[in-house]
């Protein structure tokens, strides 16, 4: 079953405050994604990878085309669905993990990680235990668990960001550069965590520039060039690493 079908998706930015300038970010994107598949989005900076991901998450409003997402309750066009449907999906099914951690002031690291879990898990203590396990796994120093992430280093924030995105086991994960600014060992941990999600049925769309991550993680790749799909890898040679 396809979890995502993107048909003729285009995105044009109309910049009214810059003399009505128009910027074409995506041009007629077509691809499909199977349930439980991990797709890697590649391409140079500015090729439209993040725009595509944000269109799917509805942070950007697509200009034309459709994005059919097979939710647990039926098919939804993410381009046209009303805001409340999107909010529900974000709460329950689709998680977006950006490159940077957006911190909530004065919330300790463990609670930041737990945020999505608190919605489903009423037992806060159990949720925190869960988060602590994950942070330990990711090698975040014990002393930092109860500290506020604003002052953390880039790599530490990155790990919290990834942990927060995957802890609740979303049905569909959009993840932007999960392994940037991480060392080799931590990279492997992150990759294993995502592969683990896949085993539980999560579909993942992942942007990465890192060849090692792509090799180990993704089932196939989609390469973007100047807002168009340059190349789609047909799934013939599934890389068996696990």
């Amino acid at each position: 079953m396809n979890i995502l079908e993107v048909n003729d998706l285009s995105k044009v930015f109309h910049l009214y405050i810059l003399n009505n300038k128009k910027i074409e970010a995506l041009k007629k994107i077509n691809f499909t994604m199977k349930e439980g598949e991990i797709i890697g989005l590649t391409g140079k900076s500015g090729s439209g990878k993040s725009s595509l991901m944000k269109c799917i998450y509805r942070t950007y409003l697509a200009s034309s085309g459709e994005i059919i997402y097979a939710s647990a309750a039926g098919k939804i066009d993410l381009v046209k669905a009303n805001d409340h449907v999107i909010i529900e999906l974000r709460k329950n099914e689709i998680t977006y993990c950006s490159q940077f951690l957006s911190v909530i002031p004065r919330v300790p690291a463990v609670d930041v990680v737990c945020e999505n879990l608190f919605r489903v898990e009423k037992d806060k203590k159990a949720a925190r235990e869960n988060a602590k396990d994950m942070l330990e796994n990711l090698g975040l120093p014990f002393e930092l668990w109860d500290a506020f992430p604003v002052t953390f280093s880039g790599g530490e924030q990155q790990r919290i960001n990834v942990a927060r995105a995957i802890i609740a086991g979303p049905r569909f994960l959009l993840i932007d550069e999960p392994t940037a600014s991480l060392d080799q060992r931590t990279k492997d941990v992150v990759i294993d965590l995502i592969l683990n999600l896949k085993k539980n049925g999560t579909s993942v769309l992942c942007i990465s520039h890192d060849e090692y991550t792509l090799e180990r993680l993704v089932d196939r790749r989609i390469a973007l060039f100047q807002g168009e799909i340059e190349q789609v890898e047909i799934e013939t040679d599934q890389i068996e690493t696990n």
């Binding site: 009214y16 405050i17 805001d83 909010i87």
Partner: protein, 260 residues
């Protein structure tokens, strides 16, 4: 999908407030297109017009826009501080959302205000009685809602005061709360404490809120959806991250690009 199309808590349709004596053309000659909310023919002022939105249970809705765009007018109309010119509002917990609360009798309005709504004013003077102590001001809302146990009221009031140190907050477990510029004029550490309290109210008690603010970072942190207002009209509405990252209207683009 229909599963949550009809799940609103507060529904607002065509809410309009005009000062002066408007004629037929007043509405069509004002608004963002004309860059003005003053009618050129009658000099009447359109504070807000044709405001449509739904607030869902437990949702936080932000309203942003330039000074004088009608943000405060909208919440004040909903809290019965002003008389509307046109339009209506329906509140689910009251008669199951069947009657327009803006057309109820004053007595019914008082009931709704005391039991189903809360409001924090931009200017503390509007919301407080300065002849009473801060604790007394907070307790007033509870007493009006029918709680008579002095011990309970005292405990609740002092709890809130300790948490915020802001003597303007009068909060209670009511389904909807309107917050007009709550963090303006507070230093960041107190601001953070107020925001903590608001997040707590929303997450733990599921109170729906309308947050009016100039501060886009407050909006980003607290709200799921945002309305952008200009010259008394809603020029754009959408998910907060969409408004902030992919604003569609010229004014929203200007607003977001002015962000520090």
């Amino acid at each position: 999908m229909s599963r949550n199309d009809d799940n609103w808590l507060l529904r607002v349709r065509n809410l309009t407030k005009i000062y002066g004596e408007p004629n037929d053309k007043t509405l069509s000659l004002t608004g963002p297109l004309f860059n003005s909310n003053i009618c050129p023919e009658t000099d009447s002022i359109v504070a807000c017009a044709e405001i449509d939105f739904d607030l869902y249970p437990g949702e936080v809705l932000g309203i942003v826009g330039e000074s004088g765009s009608g943000k405060s007018t909208v919440v004040k109309l909903l809290y019965f501080d002003m008389e509307k010119t046109l339009g209506g509002a329906w509140l689910r917990p009251y008669t199951n959302g069947l009657s327009n609360i803006l057309e109820e009798s004053n007595q019914k309005k008082r009931f709704i205000r005391n039991n189903l709504m809360g409001m924090v004013y931009q200017n503390p003077r509007d919301g407080l009685n300065f002849r009473f102590s801060s604790g007394g001001n907070i307790a007033e809302k509870l007493i009006m809602a029918g709680q008579m146990h002095v011990g309970d009221i005292r405990a609740r009031a002092s709890d809130l005061l300790n948490k915020t140190e802001v003597p303007v907050q009068r909060m209670d477990d009511r389904p909807s709360l309107f917050l007009d510029e709550v963090t303006t004029g507070l230093d960041v550490s107190v601001q953070a404490r107020v925001l903590d309290l608001i997040r707590e109210l929303q997450q733990d008690l599921g109170i729906a809120m309308i947050v009016v603010s100039h501060d886009l970072s407050v909006i980003r942190m607290l709200t799921d959806r945002t309305l952008v207002m200009k010259d008394g009209r809603i020029v754009e509405s959408g998910l907060t991250d969409q408004i902030l990252q992919d604003p569609q209207h010229a004014y929203s683009q200007l607003l977001v690009s002015s962000l520090l």
